[in-house]
Amino acid sequence: MTSCLTMQDRAVAINPTRSCAPIGAMLANYGIHGAITINHGSQGCATYPRHQMARHFREPVEVATTSLTEKTTVYGGKQNLLAALKNIWERFHPTMIMVCSTCLSETIGDDIPGIIDEFLDKRPEVTIPILSVKTPSYIGNHTTGFDNFLKEIALNLPDRRKKKGETNGKINIIPGWVNPGDIRELKHMLREMGLHGLWITDYSETLDGGYYHPRPHFPRGGTTVEELRNSSKSLATIALQRHIGGEAAHIYERRYNVPAHVLTMPIGLRNTDAFVNTLVEITDHTIPESLGVERARLLDALVDTHMYTTGLRVALYGDPDMLEGLVGLIAEMGMIPAHILTAADNRSWGERMVELTEELEVESEIILKGDLHELHKRIKQRPVDLLMGHSKGKFIAEAENIPLVRVGFPVEDRFGYHRRSIVGYNGATALVDEITNMIFERRATAIVSNTLLETGLERPTDIPITLRNGAAHHP
């Protein structure tokens, strides 16, 4: 059982799985109550991500831009940024401002921290934090912006004055790039364990909000700046995505002596167990019966569905952390993550994935720096039964008539997926249910006696033999 690591070799990207850094910083900033983003760049650098977020979350998404134009490419964007800071402060009185850069402002070389300092010097009444985050589109991808923002939070917001042994009794949780529904599921788990999380950050309500009249000045929910200041006094930090928040967790450890736990995204049984066990380890709290029941129900779902899922080949694409978590559940379902494609150019992750898939006894091809056109071509060569990833895979799904299980960001062609959870025992059970139903819908028009009805008689040559836990073998 050997997996392999390949890298896409093409200059042009065709149908990328990834977008660019500013949207990550904007999304993360939405998890802070009353915080406003200023995007320092062209208007499109704010408008495009707003559009994209509105399509996924179906919520108003409000982000300011410094509206740079030709002139600023000659004279620099300082005046625009100063004006934007002034206008945002005076008009909204936010609790925090985050300024993220763009290709444009980075390339013209604006000193954003310096401009912010100048603004603050002139306006002593402005006591809110103003953070800057480097997010040019040409470095990394959308996850980079999220991660960079988390590092800035960890470096700048927590209170360094901490008495020896002083604690707020909370646990910093950095969920990473997830959905509001995921954060709610994690909150549920902590609540069941009698623990208090300090969420870095929490857009579970700001980006999945209700209808309130009158509309609140800032969206309900989000972690407050005060909480973030207090986060240096937490018992520990748990980062649930290595590449989004992992470094921030380590900053908490180094600077504030808050122990860091960087885990695999808790998708599936084993990964969720690791999260729960980490909570136990940190707090000595016992695992409540309620979580045990949820875990047992996930086991039951895995047992009940294994005859439908075992041996199915799946193509996964998206961000490394989600893929790493998903592979756990895929393997627990007996499926083969045949193609695992990410846009990231991250060889060490790729090598870890090779090891992980081999440990899980599945044979995978891990593709780095890949795009969806590449995935499509590979699927044509080595077909799969199922696709998992964000909405942009729909073109492959339609062309090849393969069901697409929508996970990740963006899901823009379905409704309410931001409310769903794929983490924790409940999230995994829901995903098992959904995947099984997709198989039911596509592979069998009629389901009889709970068993799958294949429409045609399969000829032996069509039948791959499932070896070990999955890899197909044609004799």
Partner: protein
Amino acid sequence: MQFKCNQTLPERAIHIALKGPDGKCQRGDGTGCFIANNVATTPGDMTERGCTYAGCRGVVGGPVKDAIQLTHGPIGCAFFSWGYRPHLADSDFHMKYTFVSDMNETNIVFGGEKKLLQSIIEASAEFPDAKAVFVYNTCSTALIGDDGRDVAKQAEAIIGKPVVFFECEGFRGVSQSMGHHVGNETIFRQLVGSIEPEGDFSRSINIIGDYNIKNDIRTFEYLFEALGLQIIARFTGNVSVDDLKIMHKAALNIVHCQRSATYIADMMKEKYGTPSINVTLWGIRNMAQALRAAAAFFGLETRAEEVIAHEVTRIQPYIDAYRQRLHGKRVFIYQGGPRVWHWIELLRELGMETETAATTFGHTDDYEKIFNQIPEGALVIDNPNVPEIEEILNRRRPDLFISGNKERYLAYKLGVPFVNGHTYDTGPYAGFVGMVNFARDIDKALHAPVWNILHQRARPAPATHHAAHGFEEVES
């Protein structure tokens, strides 16, 4: 051989036996008599048996694809028997409809004959393309004395097509097996031979006693056709009323299920002189043997060997690959009747041994065939009930349990791999190619990673409210 769960049910001992070193039956009561079978269930023992109506409507009548399936009784029997048994057919009508005379309290008090007659007429009018109306009697309409047979006759005159009345009320007999007999006999008496077609039927056969679960028939009918034989009727699976009417013309009957169908062959022999052969159409050796027997009858031996060689060559690599993965596994088969002994050889071809065998309604001849094939020390149990099955799964820990849908989730709760032998997981399982499906399903069941996960320490494990079953090993 005692079951902990049977401490208060000593009468179950005679239904449980081991195959001794001498190949003989060692019965649970120590008497040395053969295993008791085909007797009424002990009330309240949590039997898995069904009723005569179920056997007749679900197994035998149901597969006839162009008959209106009308239950004479209250709603439940018709609802529950609707569309869940995957006896497939090439028909848009088949399995999608259930009809019922829908007896209510007034009908039960004042009689349901009128409503039955009207129901037949209405059903026939709604679906004029149907070729017959099959009317199944139920407990309550039998008890109140409705004369369904007479109503059927009246209706037949009115609608101008056969109305076949099945006296399959649920309380008859000791299990659903009685329903198979009622179904077979009724169809035979009322439909078979009712038309005398022209033509040369000298190379024609019927398949009797295969109910086309998940298209099983498609795995072997092309093989018989490859010999140059014509199949007239499949009794009953993917079969039309018109096929049944002329099936007496066949030159040979191929009998598959020898519990439900042998006497149909016997009746045809008696009435029409049709010879028959008993076959098993599951497994490589059995399927080959069946083709050889049919070929021998018609003098087509050479062709048979060609067909067999071609097919076996196709599938043998798969079987070999699966045998490597399945070799040495111990199986508990629990099926209605004959499938148990049909499959012992097939499983052995996959390298697996049947260590526990049970039937819902097997008769002595079935159990004899089972005893002939199982290894020494194997356990046999007649009409097992839920606690017995649970005890077997817990104590003997078979690597695989082959049973039906009701038992699936019990097996799963006990962490035992399971394949559905009644309706198949992803069938068909018959013939040569079906065996690859069967092997693949067994392989999926055995090697799904979830079993490893289950056996890991369940952490976090909630406190259980109540004590677990106290099954202990009891000296057997």
